[in-house]
Symmetry: C2
Subunit: 378 residues, 2 copies
């Protein structure tokens, strides 16, 4: 644990950047997609397979792990990396977002949030100090400040109140952060759908000097153009030498458009959750394997994919597994989706380095037209 946390940018193409984040547990190539390992597992995937598909880092959820099995329990067992058999870097969120979306009987005040577990109704308190303590117990390499994330749409007054509270919580998180060599703490820009609030939040966080900066409270139901406008007004406020992380995003199109605007890191349940529900993300767009048109189709999901499962199993077999509720269907489609997401990130990294990101973006979007047929919805 001696290596310092650092971010090196190797290439820039427009606002897009490619580089590498160094941590004591390994290097993260950027732009990076982080598979979500909510409860200390990327659902339906062996950790070795997640790595083999190209992931350099996974995300785990503070809220879920504090409730089950508990942060102290994981610390006693040697930390989250050993617990889930993932020796590479791990990012943990602060728990704030999921307290708001999952917990029961929430009571929020200046100090933090009191809530009941959605699992067993037990009572818990999450504050900036406790969130940082949990992330320290887990041993996360990249830790997030505690914040309040409002649902969109919301009033400007509500967005301001939550943004200002998040700034005060950001300061308390920074004080409470158990700094160690190779570990980082990121601040989170809030401000709802307001450009001025987002700029104000970003400037205040930059003054506090975090190791990286995240955009929170986006991809919570607003149209894509609103999300992109928030990136457009925020990214220029952030110091270029620090990583920028767009939380909870997104679709392949969201990823390309956000990288074009200077984002370096992403996490999203989309590829894993969609895989468990029969949807494949491919170079030719989305495929809904539940659809009866695949029942007799001997073609694989993508005969030219670098991923073996994507090349090997027929659409007919995947359709059969999905219709039969077979676990292997979830395993294969999760793998196929994570493989495509990582292939897309690798493509973006190479295109930025080669100075042809715009051409890559146009070609990739064109290629997605071949997937689901007209009128077919997921």
């Amino acid at each position: 644990m001696s290596e310092e946390f650092a971010f090196a940018i190797f290439g820039v193409d427009g606002a897009a950047r490619t580089g590498a984040i160094s941590t004591s547990r390994g290097t993260i190539r950027t732009p990076a997609f982080m598979p979500v390992g909510t409860a200390a597992t990327v659902k339906a995937m062996h950790p070795q397979a997640v790595k083999a598909l190209g992931a350099d880092i996974v995300l785990a959820n503070t809220y879920h792990l504090m409730l089950r099995p508990g942060a102290e329990r994981i610390a006693e067992l040697g930390g989250l990396h050993r617990f889930m058999n993932w020796p590479g870097p791990i990012l943990t969120d602060s728990g704030g977002f999921q307290v708001m979306s999952l917990a029961k009987l929430r009571k929020l005040d200046e100090n933090g949030v009191t809530f009941q577990s959605h699992i067993d109704g037990s009572r818990h308190v999450l504050t900036p100090e406790r969130s940082m303590q949990i992330q320290d117990l887990l041993g996360a390499d990249i830790q997030m400040q505690f914040d309040e994330c409002v649902k969109l749409p919301c009033t400007e007054a509500e967005a301001r109140r939550a943004m200002e509270l998040s700034l005060r919580w950001g300061e308390r998180s920074k004080q409470a952060f158990a700094r160690q060599p190779g570990r980082a703490l990121f601040g989170i820009v809030q401000g709802g759908a307001s450009e001025s609030l987002r700029r104000e939040s970003a400037r205040a966080l930059v003054e506090m000097e975090f190791d990286g900066y995240a955009l929170g409270g986006l991809a919570v139901g607003e149209p894509q153009d609103v999300m992109l406008a928030m990136i457009d007004c925020t990214a220029p406020q952030l110091p270029s030498p620090k990583p920028r992380y767009l939380m909870g995003v997104g679709s392949p199109d969201d990823l390309i458009e956000s990288v074009a605007r200077g984002i370096d890191m992403f996490d999203c349940v989309m590829p894993t959750r969609a895989g468990r529900h029969g949807l494949a993300y491919t170079r030719a767009g989305k495929l809904n394997l539940r659809n009866a048109r695949h029942a007799g189709d001997p073609a694989p999901v993508d005969a030219n994919s670098p991923n073996e499962a994507t090349r090997t199993y027929s659409r007919a077999y995947l359709h059969h597994l999905v219709k039969s509720g077979e676990i292997l269907g979830m395993m294969l489609l999760t793998e196929i989706n994570l493989a495509y997401y990582q292939e897309l990130m690798a493509g973006m990294r190479a295109a930025i380095a080669a100075g042809c990101f715009d051409a890559f973006r146009a070609e990739t979007k064109e290629s997605w037209r071949g997937g689901m047929i007209a009128g077919e919805e997921f």
Copy 2:
């Protein structure tokens, strides 16, 4: 598909034998445990992983596949091996057992069984001829005669009626079997819990000359000593140079006791089903990972196992995954169980070849005492 089906016995120790069955798709080391791939997938396992654990052959269920996706559909797609990405040998059952246990509104007569699908209520007819046609469409390497399997306990008259019907269906199955080089058809000994009926069934089947002989209608709720008694009276009736297959069995103890009595092949859902429900089979006996005593235990399931998952993941992590309903818990415990089953078979094969099967049997049973603690039930 030119190699002939054959069985070579390399070593004998008491009634136990070890050898190899040759098929056009590969060799099956015996005694063999066949993982169950009900719906064209060994649940929660990649086929490559099933192979890597030591399985030479898997079983698939005619009843399930005829209903979904349909035998003709699989044939159009190039057969079951290609469909499920398992290039090795496959054994299919006749569908008879599961028609009796799963289907609705069954009507049995001399011709066969008319029934409704448990999936969608659709009406189907299964006869010896249709069962063999389905197994041919699937392309199974080892096919089973159509039979009627009665529930135990039952009257002697009922056992006799079903046994005699199964003999007539065995003859019709033999006539309908689409023989190809490297493919085999097995007859099935029935007769309930009656030694005399079992002997009568075995002698009649041997006269018909099948490629191998199975014991059916056992492990259907009767005590282990009844099952072993049926093996004891049946095995001596069967020709030594032909493989003997005990259908649907069993626990590790059932496997050892049956091999001691001359059985060569087994299939059972026990290791896969138990794995999906939190139970591990290990060299030290069974472990119920749901039990709270494992919640803080950093020890792996077996630190000395040749299987990496068994050696690597802590009992605490597996407990967490099982309690959280995580798919990875099912994946890892299924693998751990299949690994132990294959390790047990490999141990028996080596012990028979070395002429020390009795010592192996005694040592293995002694080792099982270390697992679940007193009063802990699964």
